[in-house]
Symmetry: C2
Subunit: 401 residues, 2 copies
């Protein structure tokens, strides 16, 4: 058996970022940039007023002075001329400051009377003027490559005059559930069978991670049926299978895909829930085989599938983020398998996170997993811990998982 | 001027959850349930084996005993009969335990020889058997109403046999940018004009919050043009405007929409960046007018628009979540306006979050906002704080903002 970390490292080594595609800026939110976004203009493009008021020469703006208003410059309508001594131009937030002017008399500090305006406060040179290029200059990198675009980045790319953004194509992830005993929701359930939850839970996980899931029909437990799925995954960036990867009599996934040339790196991983994980390569398509047990499948999905999609997206593919929490109950010593205890999170008196594991950790209890806020990480051979000890947790609701 | 909290309270009071619609389970991720999801079956449906091995009577399973293997029960193919004394049935993970059997001899503890199997370990009654209903029983609420569905919830709804989910319709949020000086990215820029960043930044914010943005064409600074947008917002759940809401000569948004019957609750909010916020009602459609300044628009979006969308989605509409951080630089005393300082977040030696405000907080600097990790919250009249003091911050990247 190998460690979680070694398995993740070997999986990630098989993935490269997907090629770039162009999307409209309106579709760029939450996509990962494939190239830096360079400003196509300078912002502000010229010196502009930061306030409503009057543009004038600083030397003229002494307390009590009266100036002649020679025109107006609403935003988007620059004044056609310059400001001479004793003159002022009505100006608004965002208006270009006319040549000659280097100060702003605020509207609330001014008394207007017909064509003249009186300064009730002295002005300060350059104050309330935003200089050209103060936000960014043409050629500046405003959004780096390999960044998942936030709403703010979308605004910045817009301000930098980009109607289109080059992003990594969403990874296409095929999902194959296998088993004679499983039916899709709403379809007839075979005798002794159950409704398949893995296909759609994993599809949601793929979507949450930024991929496009392609859910294949459930494959019966026949080698030929599973082998035939190899024809369905051309052009996919990843094939995820669930079930059929234990060391029992039912390793039909391996047998089926091997018939179609899959090279295999089959592992027992020293982890719980999980253990049997399959990783291989079917032509150009990596194959990640998750356990059939729904809790194990989702936990392995968080640990291995989400980082793989992240790597496909051009992101670093780091392990799931962990944070500290205080144990709400004592923990027994761990055995040789890294454990991932389903736990609730509450807030303590000093607002610290308190993680309390469920007393029963049965990996078949999907409802228990859905009610969990976090996974408590337990390293192999970790010592027993008293209530109040610090542990690291993976917060599950982050990113819709 | 009113406080941020009072403004948010008055805004939220105007919103009710959108009506329900039905979506396929495959589309239900990240949607908010409009009704509880009740289990339509019991899971597991019968007592099933948790391991690969042999089902037998516990009384027979003493160390060294040999049993007659009378059949096999692959998952999905229950054994057609019962298990009598001295008998065993080959069984797999998820297989129904045949009547009569109440114990599992693990595969690794068994030696098979033709039609017989020898127990190399004694069995324990009921061990490795998942009892019917252990995960959930028919009629149990597996996903509550008003919950944003995670990947785990999707799996649970699938296991509970729901092909369709009742969710709140995505709120339709119309976005109207106004101003003669602004152009959309890639279009000709008027003299002294700038490229509009607000429409698409706010659209991304709406999407991140779970709404469907409808971006209206930029409205010129003419009352009649703005009034005409009233015709475009029928059936919308919210109209968001940006620009034109300051107390200057350019309050055309208010004038335009008032001509079409908007009732107005116009506020000066004691906050920075922000201050001028418009809230009103245009027929059945609430109107939220954000400042034209892109930094102010986004900060006001986080504080007021995201909670409003949350309320429309059937969620509580709580203020943005805050968390503690340690100041990386001293702060001057605050004036009467609640401040939201753009700051970077780093990790200190004890892994604590350290928030360091940018030295210049110009609200026109969009790039600065995009580089910020968090907003440091400063209450009105907050005292000066030394480096190392604790503050509360809003983490911006959470939820794609």
């Amino acid at each position: 058996m190998i460690s979680v970390e070694e398995a993740r490292g070997r999986i990630l080594a098989a993935f490269r970022p997907t090629p770039a595609e162009i999307v409209a800026l309106a579709e760029a939110w939450n996509r990962v940039t494939a190239a830096p976004v360079l400003a196509r203009l300078t912002q502000p493009p010229a010196d502009v007023s930061a306030m409503d008021g009057y543009a004038l020469r600083a030397a003229d703006g002494t307390l009590g002075t009266t100036l002649r208003v020679i025109g107006s410059a609403p935003a988007g309508h620059p004044f056609d001329g310059g400001v001479g001594p004793g003159e002022a131009v009505r100006i608004f937030t965002g208006s270009v400051v006319p040549p000659g002017a280097d100060a702003i008399l605020l509207q609330e500090d001014a008394t207007r009377d017909g064509d003249s305006v009186r300064a009730n406060e002295a002005v300060t040179a350059k104050r309330h003027i935003r200089r050209a290029g103060q936000d960014f200059a043409a050629g500046d990198v405003v959004v780096a490559a390999g960044r998942r675009m936030t709403a703010r980045d979308v605004g910045l790319a817009a301000a930098a005059n980009h109607p289109w953004i080059s992003v990594h194509r969403r990874p296409r992830v095929a999902i194959l559930a296998t088993g004679d005993e499983i039916a899709l929701p709403g379809e007839p359930i075979p005798p002794g069978g159950i409704v398949s939850s893995n296909s759609h839970a994993l599809a949601a996980l793929v979507r949450a991670a930024g991929g496009d899931p392609v859910v294949l029909p459930v494959a019966r437990d026949e080698v030929a049926v599973i082998a035939a799925t190899a024809d369905a995954v051309g052009g996919m960036d990843l094939l995820v299978t669930t079930g059929g990867a234990s060391v029992g009599d039912h390793d039909l996934v391996i047998e089926g895909l091997r018939q179609r040339g899959m090279t295999l790196d089959f592992w027992q991983i020293a982890m719980r829930p999980g253990k049997p994980l399959l990783f291989g390569q079917l032509g150009a398509v990596p194959v990640l085989g998750l356990p059939g047990n729904p809790v194990s499948a989702l936990v392995c999905g968080v640990l291995f599938l989400v980082p793989a999609i992240s790597r496909l997206l051009g992101l670093p593919g780091e392990p799931p983020a962990t944070e500290p929490a205080i144990l709400g109950a004592r923990l027994a010593a761990n055995d040789h398998r890294a454990d991932h205890l389903r736990a609730t999170l509450t807030r303590g008196p000093q607002n610290q996170a308190i993680a309390t594991p469920f007393p029963v950790q049965d990996s078949a209890m999907l409802q228990r997993l859905a009610r969990a806020d976090a996974l408590i990480l337990r390293a192999p051979h970790a010592q027993a811990l008293p209530e109040g000890a610090e542990v690291r947790v993976i917060r599950l609701e982050a990113h819709g998982i």
